[in-house]
Symmetry: C3
Subunit: 262 residues, 3 copies
């Protein structure tokens, strides 16, 4: 984990290309912008080439996929691979919907993905391990989260973030855990989508995906924790507004004093 | 009306599948989540079967329909009928746009819909009665709102919610009216869409659609009224944030002391 | 510039039809509603005719275009031209993505557009002048913004708004500049999209597009400036909420005391 990457990111203002979930796309765009990145969204495969050229990194989100969008994901992903631009995959609901699982497996077979970010139900499904996913939620399961994340990372030769109350980050060998956060993340739809796109922004800052992924998790989790301390009750929409504000204000020094990472 | 359904809903955390309006989808997802339901959105007909299987209820919103989406609505609706899962229809702008009216009529001919939720202009159009709808707004008309709602309910053998300053709920025979609310609902785009999806969430809690529909109307209207009392001026965006917060905090006891229902 | 147009707009409550960017569509709808207009969004070409009939004006946004949507834009634009309804074009990212530039040029060749609203990078690209656009952002360039806007306006025989820290408005001959505003507009994704749709709302109030365009720029810039004065730090999401609130509250008298326009 390296909080200097936050300073680098803000100086660099990388363009993050998002093949987005239309439910959460506004939050993702504003979160990226607040953090210090430059979001761009695209829905048309004919502009894929130019979009990948101007982008620093790409985030592919399966949240509201269509056949048309899946084709675009494949083309954008391959172009990003060819250009050496990092790719993040957010496999929304692959643990609950077999069609989405097949789409994710097909994408992972035809592309190299640098980071997969999902909840326990999604990562367990991709790892081929047992879990009870529930819709877009993690669901309930018993199992060693570190083992699940590691199995998934080894299977697809990439970094994996299994996010939740504790975020587990692994490249298959190295393991980090971020214990910061707040239950309000689960109460706001799209916290995971936002994290996936913030990870993409951090991937633009350096060569070590494992470091970048951890730092993204820490910055978001710590920002949320700081914001939640100011709220007198469980207010998920006020939290979402304050969280995006905080992403533009949070400093490495502020995070250092409170981080719980192992 | 039965406020215990709110407690049941929160204990049950039902999955509500939304064929959504992309304008208001984030508010709908966050509102469902805040209330205590689990939202999922889908745009691809190939995942219809699995989506309906995991869902407790379905909400179909015509707000930004396309030919592709209409096909998906038909397939999802039929699968929901076969599986005995309740279906809510939100016929956005059918009073103003003849194409949408035909789409709604076709859907209502090929599916059984459990609850239709619309404004006066939309419900009057489906009832075959005169009204001056205006775009997405109710518009101005003269007519007995109870008669309009009842005619629509009898025509399609379902519950109807004609929402507005007073919400009229009817199954064609029984009638309820919710007088709670605030003019701020009209100032925030998507209040109706949110109500439709909250109704879908309440349908998962029991067998009496008329009771569930009334309770959904009351919970939203009372939450909005409570929130509006805290605002010193007409602030539609602050209202929207506070409303979603309130959906996660509001209790049956709080609503009981203020409800105006007949 | 004529602030009485704000009063006219609120009395008239014009319907603005938006072919929208799905990233920013909720803000645009709520901003139009708060200002006093009535937003409607459409994604299906088969309802184009009825949509244009009920609309006062049309705003076409290229932000998340698809081939299907481009066809719809062409049909809606032509119908609006035939019916004498004003059309606004928001050429998102045409300075950065050659495909979007070709789409914008094709639309401008087959339609008459009344107002083009873009940032410096977008307007320079359409004017055929040099500029370094960056994704959806204006990017960095050297050049006389007034000359760029004027060249674009003369090329397409329309009004042009080149928006940024200073908004330049021109019909090719007359020039106005609005110096109000706040850097927070650049920190919130979709400020430009909102302006484009507010311009469309103001076009419904009279016959002089140049006057209407200026007034829209001033109302938004002044509202943002007033809101920013209340914020103790750079909070882009709180700003967005307060801005939409302010659009429903701001008065001509309030703006008159602070306007910086030449």
């Amino acid at each position: 984990m390296d909080l200097k990457l936050l300073t680098t990111l803000r100086a660099q203002n990388p363009i993050v290309l998002n093949i987005a979930n239309f439910v959460t796309v506004a939050d993702v765009a504003n979160g990226l912008n607040a953090l210090g990145a430059s979001p761009i969204m695209s829905a048309e495969v004919q502009e894929a080439d130019a979009m990948v050229q101007i982008a620093g990194t790409v985030c592919i989100n399966l949240g509201t996929l269509t056949e048309l969008q899946i084709n675009q994901m494949r083309v954008v992903g391959k172009l990003a691979n060819q250009a050496g631009k990092p790719v993040v995959l957010d496999p929304v609901a692959v643990g609950a919907i077999p069609y989405r699982y097949r789409v994710a497996r097909d994408l992972l077979a035809s592309l190299h993905v640098d980071v997969i970010r999902g909840n326990a139900g999604e990562i367990a499904a991709l790892a081929g391990l047992d879990w009870q996913a529930k819709g877009i939620d993690a669901g309930a399961g018993h199992g060693d989260l570190v083992h699940i994340a590691q199995t998934c990372a080894q299977r697809f030769d990439c970094c994996v973030i299994l996010s939740g109350p504790t975020d587990v980050i692994t490249d298959g060998t190295r393991i980090a855990q971020v214990h910061n956060g707040t239950p309000l993340f689960q109460q706001h739809v799209g916290s995971g989508d936002l994290l996936s796109s913030l990870v993409a922004a951090f991937l633009a800052t350096g060569n070590d995906n494992f470091e970048a992924a951890q730092t993204a998790c820490l910055v978001l989790a710590a920002s949320g924790e700081l914001v939640a301390q100011q709220l007198t009750a469980s207010r998920p929409a006020s939290f979402a507004v304050a969280l995006i504000d905080k992403l533009s204000l949070v400093t490495p020094a502020e995070i250092e004093t409170m981080m719980k990472i192992e």
